[in-house]
Amino acid sequence: MGIEVVVEGLTKSFGKHLVWRDVSLSLPAGEVSVMLGPSGTGKTVFLKALVGLVRPDQGRVLVDGIDTASCSERQLYQARKLFGVMFQDGALFGSLSLYDNVAFPLREHTRLTEAEIRRVVLEKMDMVGLAGEGHKYPGEISGGMRKRAGLARALVLDPQIILCDEPDSGLDPVRTAYLSQLLIDLNAEIDATILIVTHDIQIARTVPDNIGMLFRGNLVMFGPREVLLTSDHPVITQFVNGRKIGPIGMSEEKDEVTLALEQASQVPGAGNGERTPTQPALVPQLVPSPGMPERLAVGRRMARVISMLHTLPEPARAAIVASLPAADRAQARAAEFTGPAGYAAQTATTQPRQPSSGAAPDDSGRPRRPDLPEAQRPGEAETLADRLMGRTRGSARRRRGPPPRGDAS
């Protein structure tokens, strides 16, 4: 299983320019996460900070007990062996053929014979659909192939954590879809922790288990996909729907005056370049291709999400419950009101625990499914969670996922 990456209070600035401030999140082990954000919000810098290429001003990045933000060079090289990084343009070595590029980490770090290296390299190149292209040089192939070759090279050492920097940039939608599928299949196969940095909303909607968003030097939100995709936070809705209207402007941010002017002149409907409003943001997640093993992360994540269900905003809860198999819904519904700690069902109906804007009081959501038994015995959720995750982790660990925040900004 992959390794959890815990980021605490990360702050970075270049000179006077603040990139981001106080970013805290944890990439759950073995799950796929996406970091969204408009161009120029420091997504790539964030990714580089995780592997220690950029040293942050403050904060910690814990990977397998090593703080890559402040550890020694020697430790950093150790920690980096856990990572596979796919750079924006592939970052292939121009002087080496694709085959040699993919074989590079093996030749540097292992004592495999050329025959064994050949086997591994061909397998990985086949995986990304580059079989038979090994003799070509990076200068001779298209951007999409370079990206895939970069991914193959990131994979040869069987990394525990895979970081992808804008896997979609410069790719057509079809290739992006294939790449998305590839990442999901990969996660199913090797169960690695994956972080994708992108501004492509299609990837964000279909691929990840968890989504985060950076904007104006802050982490707006990080949490399960349902939370972000159903959120009514203005930045997130604007981004998810690709609208012009909202806090995100052409240059980094809009000022208050422009925003007010825009609100006043807003014409509903056509002409704003929006997605059709009927298209829901939350679409079913990609599943591994036929023939691939089941994604273990799905069960683990569901258990984790259910354990924190009572802290989530109402639309997200409804979405999560609806996505469960019918048999599990009843128990999940109970968890929603009781919480895994097992306090009484009735208290939850009057006291939402999350610091939300109050837009979604619990009572409004509750009668939506009158067919379900509402009050279950406290503690039911625990059993469901345990079943989903195969009783591997303690509830303390499960709760470490940061609660979603920032409905009020």
Binding site: K16, L53, R80, F93, G94, F104
Partner: protein, 262 residues
């Protein structure tokens, strides 16, 4: 980006200087660290040698001639014609030869190194290498520095020979001096430490030129234009440094090695 706010003037330059020294130190440290990149050293050696040998020879012949002609006409006026050989040899071996080598290593080899490293940096190859747990300094910079230093030392021998031969040719055939007096004064004033300091200078100049080129290549401004600027800077900075270091080395040499015959 760090130039947005400068509390102390010159701090940026000081920081760059510090980074340059840090790079030089880590290059020295990694030179003795295994694994040693034999193949890369040989390739780079061959590359730098191939771009510098011919221009160096072509530059050194007229250079030796100019010194001989200039010194020859001066010594004729003074009536010390028989010392032309010694003067031209000392000037060529001690000063001209290491500097010619340095300029060509910095200009031809250094600019190529800087452009290569710079292109790799902006294409994130250096980052990728570091993420894969391979030190780019050890893997790429050290072989280039070793190759440049070695080529400089060997090239220095070539320039000395070609320069002295050029001087001899012009002295004998154009100024109608006697070959005997050229050679006699040569051996009466020149001594072996002259050759040593010449080679030491060449070694140090080759090292400096390669380290400066690598340093600029590793820290270009973003974009292809940044690489062009970096190459430009690397050549200029290397030249400035080389002449300054040459001054220091010459002063030290003249202090510690007594001239022959005194």
């Amino acid at each position: 980006m760090s130039s947005q706010q400068r509390p102390v003037p010159g701090l940026g330059a000081l920081r760059q200087t510090g980074m340059l020294f840090a790079l030089a130190a880590s290059v020295l440290r990694m030179t003795v660290k295994r694994p040693f990149q034999v193949r890369e050293v040989i390739e780079q050696f061959w590359f730098i040698a191939s771009v510098t040998i011919l221009p160096t020879m072509l530059v050194s012949i007229p250079f030796g001639a100019v010194i001989t002609l200039q010194v020859g006409s001066l010594t004729k006026q003074l009536g010390a014609e028989s010392f032309t050989g010694a003067a031209s040899v000392l000037a060529v071996v001690q000063q001209a030869s290491p500097l010619i080598v340095a300029l060509l290593i910095a200009g031809a080899g250094g600019s190529a190194i800087c452009a290569d490293i710079g292109a790799r940096t902006i294409r994130e190859e250096m980052d990728a290498m570091e993420v894969m747990g391979v030190s780019p300094i050890q893997r790429l910079i050290v072989p280039r520095v070793i190759a440049a230093s070695a080529v400089a030392v060997l090239l220095n021998g070539l320039v000395s020979v070609v320069g002295v031969l050029g001087g001899y040719f012009f002295f004998v055939y154009l100024q109608h001096g006697t070959p005997g007096s050229f050679l006699a004064s040569f051996s009466s004033l020149a001594q072996l430490p002259d050759l040593y300091i010449s080679e030491i200078k060449a070694l140090i100049f080759g090292f400096i030129a390669a380290v400066v080129a690598a340093h600029r290549g590793m820290n270009p401004r973003p974009g292809p234009k940044g690489v062009g600027e970096a190459v430009n800077q690397s050549v200029v900075i290397a030249f400035l440094l080389l002449f300054f270091v040459n001054l220091v080395l010459t002063a030290i040499y003249l202090k510690i090695v007594p001239p022959k015959g005194s």
